[in-house]
């Protein structure tokens, strides 16, 4: 809490200030703490501030940083310790963050989306310091000068611990504003903020406001064979069976007729507006049903089924991650091949057992549509099979990043199954663009 004597000033005039009847005090989001103090000091206002003691004297034993990690850290420091570092999955973003904590010597709160990442971060931090690491989430409620918290736990804990940290690090920072609520940042006084992501969002407004702009970024292609494992991308064209082809054409026709008419009427309308409009009429609903059905057909036709079997047979024993367009396909593959699916519906204990079995080689194949895309650290995984997915470059980069973590002598192999002469071909091209697309960084490397 800040107490200040304001002569003639009206606190209500300060942007964002609200009167709290409960506490009989003016309130401002904790995020503005540093700026408010500066503002009051500039105005010559006497201030008594209860927020203090965020410095730590922790000792850190850091491994050497790679060249791009050094540059990333330097750029972030030069940007006033606020901003986002965009490096591909496996390039060692966590290490850059730990180096930032060690360099600033302040208490730090690390926000991560999942419990799996909570474990990974706590382990990575413990390797670099002998001091205990706090954990919030997954049943743990321990706060320490360096604490890792899931987004969900941070949301409920922030009102109580928001004044204890000088640096906040947000992993998978592209989730800020959605999965990671911006309220968390509003409740933290930490003036230093570091975002980490492999795929900065197109809409940067929320992230830039609460964390900062992208200060450094590299792509998968930039680090190929350097910070990331050597890899080969193989596209496997798949043909539809004659009956499947006929069905596809029929469904596609039904959908396109309606969609084309809508686009002619509303050329600038977004997809969700089409969905909203289509749901109002029987014809529209039939078009949407056709769309869904042909997507399901492309998700796992007989050709993909055969190709998947052949690839797995050819690479028996390799640790493979199979990515699908949807959960239904993931379950279908899991059922056919009796391999473990990893979806949001599979509970944590079972998921943990499955990941351990994958690491040990007991279950060398996992199939998933989304869950494995982020926060899954298995350096041994060296084979990715993309059976289906959306056209999103962000999701694609996250997916293949799972097998690019560098390992001695590793050469990753990525197969991508695409049904020829269908809408999937264009989607594959669209998502591929993510591999070489450099984040928009002034003066960044691409």
């Amino acid at each position: 809490m800040i107490e200040a004597e304001l002569d003639g000033e009206r606190p209500g005039d300060i942007a964002g200030v609200a009167w709290d009847d409960e506490r009989r005090a003016w309130r401002l989001p904790a995020e503005h703490h540093a700026a408010l103090k500066r503002e009051l000091a500039d105005a010559g206002v006497q201030v008594s501030d209860e927020v203090r003691g965020r410095d730590t004297a922790m000792t850190w034993t850091m491994p050497g940083l790679r060249w791009y990690q050094e540059v990333a850290l330097a750029r972030w420091l030069a940007a006033g310790t606020r901003g986002v570092i965009a490096l591909p999955t496996g390039a060692g973003k966590t290490l850059v963050a730990i180096a930032a904590i060690a360099r600033l010597q302040v208490a730090a709160l690390c926000l991560v989306p999942t419990r799996v990442l909570l474990d990974q971060w706590a382990r990575a931090l413990a390797v670099c310091t002998g001091h205990p690491i706090g954990r919030l989430g997954d049943g743990d409620h321990v706060v320490a000068p360096v604490t890792v918290a899931t987004y969900a736990s941070a949301t409920s804990w922030a009102p109580r611990i928001g004044d204890r940290f000088g640096l906040v690090i947000v992993d998978e920072a592209h989730h800020v504003g959605a999965w990671c609520p911006t309220e968390v940042f509003e409740m933290l006084v930490a003036p230093s903020r570091l975002g980490l992501t492999a795929t900065p969002p197109d809409q940067m407004a929320q992230l830039a406001r609460h964390v900062g702009p992208v200060v450094y970024g590299l792509t998968v292609e930039d680090l190929r064979g350097d910070g990331l494992a050597e890899h080969r991308l193989v596209t496997v064209p798949v043909a539809l069976e004659p009956a499947e082809r006929r069905r596809y054409r029929e469904l596609r026709r039904r959908f396109s007729t309606r969609y084309a008419a809508f686009q002619r009427a509303m050329p600038d309308a977004a997809w969700r507006e089409f969905v909203r409009d289509a749901l109002q009429t029987g014809q529209g609903r039939a078009a949407l049903a056709a769309w869904r059905e042909y997507r399901a057909l492309l998700a796992y036709p007989d050709g993909k089924r055969a190709a998947l079997r052949e690839i797995l047979d050819r690479h028996r024993g390799r640790r493979a991650l199979v990515f699908t367009a949807d959960n239904a396909t993931a379950y279908a593959i899991a059922r056919e091949l009796l391999v473990m699916p990893i979806t949001h519906e599979i509970r944590r204990a079972e998921r943990t057992r499955a990941l351990a079995a994958f690491r040990s080689g007991e279950c060398p194949v996992l199939v998933s549509s989304q869950v494995l895309e982020e926060g899954f650290d298995v350096p041994d995984a060296d084979l990715a099979i993309v059976v289906g997915g959306s056209g999103s470059p962000r999701r694609y980069v996250q997916r293949i990043g799972r097998v690019l973590r560098p390992c001695e002598g590793k050469r990753a192999l990525i197969y991508e199954l695409a049904v020829a002469d269908t809408t999937e071909t264009a989607e594959v091209a669209r998502r591929r663009s993510g591999l070489g697309r450099a984040p928009a960084v002034p003066g960044g490397v691409s």
Partner: protein, 368 residues
């Protein structure tokens, strides 16, 4: 049929009544046709069915159906075991696949086909649609959907006013047990509960909203009530008025743990103190006060009220009302997790999870 007042332009959720029975019946026809198939298929069919209602009503009814059918299926418990036995390296050869299923079947004492059908039986969208009790009634589905819709408004409420004519004490005790911030007063033959909504708080709004929403199912037991909710829906202020006849599911069977007040009374009695549980309500002007227990200490009678959520103003107002009723020897016990810092005031005994007898007696002795 249903008394509802729309006082603002906000799109308030509509409560279901007999006008909705035809399309709910059509939806249940689809459910019956989908028995044995995954829930995912049912959701898709309902989404595209020509029911003539907005998608939000379809979603509301499917959610209600899940509540009516309950659970994750009878055999859900062994699904995880089946997966542990069956799933492993890819079974690329049909013979290998069949052998693995057969081995698991032998372990589980069932058939290979059964093992295969068990694999995803515990997963929300993959488990098959089953109607163990037969086709549910349209009204039952509508009642559960109504409950969910009212609870949604309650979770987004600034304040709500509940007017009841029968068995008010029971409802007041429930409000106290959930730790809600409320004022109770009499208005003619009605008891009026004015309860603060989660949006009027600065902290713990989700937890508070959840607790508040638990009040709604209990209204089904009251033949006469009026519930007014001032809430914020989709960014707009709105007011919802609900009164019978409204379809609500029967209230849940109470399987509650002893409340903090009940545990305190038990602990005091175990230490040999004279305790009166739930003494009669006390009139204080138009308001009614409901202490949880009365205690003899040093030859004097003290009343104790255990509170959950609280604000400084709320505690001060409550003590004033006791004072107005001629009672000075009062202790309010406040849960420090939901009312942090409240114990800095005299006559307030803070607690975490459980009221400690020693803390209470110290508070009494300090204020004697």
């Amino acid at each position: 049929m249903i008394a509802m007042v729309y006082e603002a332009s906000a799109r308030l959720p509509r409560l279901y009544d007999d006008r909705d029975l035809p399309w709910i019946g059509q939806l249940l026809d689809i459910v019956e046709q989908t028995v044995g198939e995954p829930w995912r298929v049912l959701v898709e069919r309902v989404e595209y069915a020509p029911l003539g209602v907005h998608p939000s009503h379809r979603a509301a009814m499917l959610q209600a159906l899940r509540r009516v059918l309950g659970g994750s299926g009878q055999r859900a418990r062994i699904a995880r075991r089946a997966r542990a036995l069956v799933l492993g390296p890819p079974a690329l050869d049909p013979v290998e696949r069949q052998a693995r299923l057969a081995t698991a079947a032998a372990t589980l004492g069932t058939t290979a086909d059964d093992v295969e059908s068990l694999l995803w039986v515990d997963l929300a969208l993959e488990r098959p649609v089953v109607l163990p009790e037969g086709r549910p009634a349209e009204t039952e589905l509508a009642a559960f959907a109504n409950l969910e819709r009212i609870q949604r408004c309650v979770r987004r409420a600034h304040e709500l006013q509940l007017r009841v004519w029968d068995r008010a004490t029971e409802l007041v005790r429930t409000v106290a047990r959930y730790g809600l911030i409320s004022q109770i007063r009499c208005d003619g033959d009605a008891t009026v509960l004015e309860v603060m909504g989660p949006l009027a708080l600065f902290h713990a709004t989700i937890v508070y909203g959840r607790a508040l929403a638990q009040l709604v199912p209990l209204l089904a037991d009251h033949p006469r009530f009026e519930l007014d909710i001032r809430c914020r829906i989709r960014g707009e202020e709105a007011q919802l008025h609900v009164a019978p006849p409204v379809w609500l599911p029967p209230p849940p069977v109470s399987r509650r743990m002893p409340s903090a007040a009940e545990r305190l009374a038990h602990d005091l009695a175990a230490q040999g103190h004279m305790v009166e549980r739930e003494p009669p309500p006390i009139a204080s002007g138009a308001h009614r006060l409901f202490p949880d227990l009365a205690l003899e200490r040093g030859g004097r009678r003290w009343v104790v009220e255990v509170l959950g959520f609280a604000t400084t103003e709320y505690l001060a107002a409550k003590l004033d009302r006791y004072r107005d009723a001629g009672l000075e020897r009062v202790v309010l016990c406040t849960d420090l997790t939901t009312a942090p810092g409240s114990d800095r005031t005299a006559q307030i005994c803070g607690f975490l999870r459980r009221v400690e007898v020693d803390d209470l007696l110290t508070t009494i002795d300090t204020g004697r």
